[in-house]
Amino acid sequence: MKALKALNFYALMAMMILSLAACSSSGNNEATATGTPAATAEPTATPEATPEPTKEPEPAEISYLTWRGELPEISDGFQKKYPYYKVSTQSVAGVAEYIQAQKVRMLAGDLDVTSLRPESIEEYVKAGSLADLTGAAFLDNVNPSLFGKATFEGKVYAVPSSVNLVGVWYNKDLFAKFNLAIPTTWEEFLAVCEVLQQNSIVPMGNGGKDAWPMEFDIYPFMHKLLVDDPQIFDKINNGEMKYTDPVFIDAFKQIEAFYKTGYIYKDVLSVGYSEAANLFFQQKTGMIIQGEWLSPVVDEAQPAFEVGVFPMPIPGEGTRVVLPITVGVYEAVLDSTKHKEAAMAYLDYFSSKETGDVLAATAAISPIKGVEINPDSYLRLWEPYLQADSVDFFYNLQFAGANAEFTKGLQDLFLGRITPEKLAENIQIAQDKKAE
């Protein structure tokens, strides 16, 4: 009996000791960036050539996590160029699922290179999770104006690998049928919506059930805030401004008024992103405000009408064209990697024109110099607009929690369940958690 009690005691102690050991923080990754990130600062270090290894590199296998598919052409090309290195690419579909998987892999420390969403970079840099890429030769392959979100205190932590933009996709046949010209001002845009509505065509509608597409139907109003003041969301993030300030309340009131026009599909909260695209292809909606990432969907759907695109008119800006353009995907090396040389070699290959051409063939806009848009994709429709003035995506500049509350709040605003003032208050409450 005594032996039994002793065994019970030691078993319990072993459980406690093991669990405490598992919970201890090892603090291997020191934060290397502090303070407010300089969102628009250019890299200050002079680019250096990637140093040639002085001896035969040690064979290494690196692990690359992305959401863009297995990318076998890129893996094969890399391994052909660097026969002593291997890359194991894992892909997790779905941005939310991807971010969860990425965080778990980062914690486990078995990830070498990873694709990053722009909203993830700041928190990873502050936690010291990303390797400093400053001075790497491959950074010169990319348009220098695109490094804003990846640069903190003069150091570069990620390299852009895909560019996104937002605009209006429209049904050219319907426009021709109702003698509609492409609107170049906000007033003309509203007039087009009115004509479509009077002819029993729903002017537009996104997949509100998935929450994030709600931002696109009202994108012009948030875009206007950035066009007027490109620093506005930096001011929100550093506490200089609040969402309850008049400029935001006015924007939310305009959104509310726009919802009441009925120009947006009335069942927008019952359809997801894919179904909303199908409504456009079935000609139940005349337009859809979406990103260029709709291109492969259009390519696959091959709608029975001619598809066109035009830049989103901006309220109060007349005919001025300012496109929302951002880097949607970055690639970074994890600071915890045990194969830094191999990981940097992978980024070097990933930033080459060769890889840019492969990604462009999948209907993506590559930030790499000299890479052309795939002429066989509907993406080509956006080419004439790529040199226009641009500002970042507003939601990439928002704190993630505030943006989540904003998209949920838009659903309630659409239903008339909250007022613009209440929406502003709720978003500010979510924003205040950033400081906690």
Partner: protein
Amino acid sequence: MKLKNNYLPYIFMAPALILLFFFFALPFISTVLIGFTDFNGFSWNMKFVGMANFINIFRESEVLSSLKNTVLFTVLTLLFQIPLGLLLAVLLNRNIFGRDVFRAIFFLPAMISSVALSSIWGLIFNPNLGTIVTVAKFLGWDWLADIRWLADPGLVMYSISAVNVWIFSGWCMVIFLAGLQSIPQEMLESADLDGATPVRKLWHITLPMLAPATTINVVMVTIGGLKVFDLPLIMTNGGPGHASETLTMTIINNSFALSKVGYGAALSILMLIFILLFTYFQNKFLGRAEEATEY
């Protein structure tokens, strides 16, 4: 010989205990400890923050909203799933043609992945192409076609609860069937001899004798309801707005989307305490009811 007799059971239990330790005890203890830190889920740099996470929970209106949705879902499920399961059990306890086939049909949804079923019901409720709207338009029932089952904030939790009842009533049916088959036949025959009607037999004999099965069903349905996650996630993603966001969804959102794993852990601990208290008092009440029915 004495040594072997003392330690042999532990050796045989060891594999199960090891699994229990790594997949239950260790995660549980880790969660409790993480609840007192600012762990972000992707870096081992974390610091002890004391009770800050727990205090912040009570300041958040989103937690209250999620709790309200979760309790509503649980109450609706209890109100409909238990009686429906009982009704099915009573009907399928008789010796009718095709009884076993019917039992399998009603139990089938409980065996299929609830994620798959949630997706299917999402399509059924779809206001453009869904089964309900298609049938309603065919019958000329515009009032039915106009109902927005998942987009109406006042209706969405009822719709999701209805799907849950449909999926798991068969489960309750199986538990009640086991209980029904344990009722001594002599009691029912004796009641027949005394001229008791079927309703009186049900009320005075069957239901009281089903008290243990009822307890199991009520406790399991309550725990399942308070932890619900997959149905609202797949069907509505917690929308519209926060109208169908449950407590578990709030935990997941904070832990992964907002990198506040410490806060999420604290919330899950409070949720555990809430569930334990709820089921403790529920068990106490039902236990007294069981005692009262003992002969």
